[in-house]
Symmetry: C2
Subunit: 141 residues, 2 copies
DNA sequence: ATGCACTCTATAGTAACTATAGGGTCAACA
DNA sequence: TGTTGACCCTATAGTTACTATAGAGTGCAT
């Protein structure tokens, strides 16, 4: 894809392939203001630059670390303002780490409970599986 | 709350307080078919019975174990049909446990990465924090 | 000139709720 | 008896991070 000034551009499909992000998702990121609006061709097609690709990669890596899109938006702002605000980046990251740790711990509690429920209801058995009962927790006397 | 036949009923507010579930959430569970529609008073108020309360407790305990509302719907159906279908309950529960385990493991990977990013960017420092850079992953040569 | 892959916008659907608007009900108190 | 205030009703839209669909236009090759 090449524009009037003979610069190299990416179509949205190109960007999609090179980053592994779906076309609709790229448009969605633009819509919510995460990815800057690219220039358009005469026909109205989006014409992305290398810079857009870099930002998209940033988004992808941050998502892989579990950051929310709003957190990523903040990180992107900070990365523009640079140097002085690194303290904020650190804060965001630390908060995020705390969230992840508390998610892990509540999932681990679930894991333990489920393991115990299953243990009391071995594979071969057909009746007497306690899962439903222990969810019901009937004091049905 | 008392109806024509002098039976005891719960208003939605009573049920809300006794189960710790928000009023809107109770109505939502009814709307999606999780909680059966209760009879109504003359004025159109919902009049819940003990049975409704038990089902709601079942839902709450299942949610605490991380089951989705659709899974809970299935569990409720099975608990009606009783005995022969316990095998299905076991299957649902085992699948769910597997999902939880894979969530835990991906969160743990995130945790490790974040910990490392933070370690390279100690508290007192203002510049040179690598979090943004490593997300950018610039080969900016 | 026509076919095909690609792109465009706009809208609705997903999960599990929460929030809001605009109204009706009911028991008690003056 | 009137009215206040707490409670209840329905319907609709918003939340997160997308995905799916409809209906239409673009661009390149044959």
């Amino acid at each position: 894809m090449v524009n009037k000034k003979n610069h190299l551009f990416y179509s949205i499909g190109d960007l999609s392939k090179s980053t592994g992000t779906k076309v609709v998702t790229i448009r969605y990121y633009e819509k919510i203001g995460l990815l800057p609006e690219p220039p358009r061709t005469e026909g109205g097609y989006r014409a992305y630059t290398k810079k857009h690709q870099e930002i998209l990669f940033f988004i992808i890596r941050s998502r892989a670390l579990g950051f929310s899109l709003i957190e990523i938006q903040n990180l992107l702002k900070l990365s523009e303002n640079d140097i002085l605000l690194n303290q904020d980046v650190l804060t965001i990251t630390k908060n995020h780490l705390e969230n992840i740790r508390s998610k892990i711990s509540s999932l681990q509690k679930m894991e333990t409970s489920l393991k115990n429920l299953i243990k009391e209801c071995p594979d071969g058995k057909i009746s007497g599986c306690g899962i439903i009962d222990s969810l019901n927790n009937y004091s049905d006397t």
